[in-house]
Symmetry: C2
Subunit: 113 residues, 2 copies
DNA sequence: CAAATATACATTAGATTCTTATGTATTGGA
DNA sequence: TCCAATACATAAGAATCTAATGTATATTTG
């Protein structure tokens, strides 16, 4: 099963921040592969969504970058800035809270009316 | 805590379909109030998001409507069509599956690298 | 009883974020 | 040698939401 795209909306930044929290530094392509692998192909990040998102997080001072060359091919590593570490924690716990709310909302039987 | 808007994106239709699955029929304003109440004000649906979404679901044959007058004030009740009942089940189980995936993705320690 | 609040529908401009497509270039394997 | 994988990036258009606005009735409160 590949989730309908609308479901994933709004979760991309949280996913990025979580991976960078656990891995210190990662590059874009690596993130797509890691997510694909961890979710058994259920979530496949597209480049058109990922790169603009990474650029936005960098512009907000949440991520910092280092560019390295692997042979002649460029690779851009992203890391959490100090600010980013806080934002990361906040985003993840906000999402955890949101999931609890949604779990409750979707499990309950509200046959009151 | 009120969730950042991006988190809620993409969950609106699932919420609507779940409420209508449990309640047979509801009207727009009622849906906003019920969600607000059930989530202790954490999720507050806006009319600008809700009504277009209801109209779209109706246009897709997922919801049917009945209009009633309460005094002089109009009230538009929405119900799941037979097709809507299937879509409802699918959406909810897809979301449940998605939540499991996200839970795994956000809880794990991936300090492999 | 007047005014404020709540109920109840709806639309729209603009913002955000995603999809899909396209572009460039290097590297590795069949 | 050619195809797939690696690795970056952008851009047009679609989808969906926010915030504002509009209309009207009903109820509560000072």
């Amino acid at each position: 099963m590949i989730y309908s795209s609308e479901l994933i909306k709004g979760t991309l930044k949280t996913i990025i921040l979580k991976l960078l929290k656990d891995n210190k530094r990662m590059y874009g392509y690596e993130i797509t592969q890691r997510v694909k692998e961890l979710t058994h192909d259920r979530i496949q990040l597209t480049e058109g969504a990922l790169y603009p998102s990474l650029h936005a997080l960098e512009a907000d001072g949440i991520l910092t970058t280092e560019t390295e060359y692997i042979g002649k091919r460029v690779r851009k590593y992203y890391s959490l800035s100090p600010k980013g570490k806080n934002v990361s924690k906040e985003k993840i716990s906000e999402f955890a809270d949101f999931m609890n709310t949604m779990k409750f909302l979707l499990d309950i039987k509200t046959d009151i009316a």
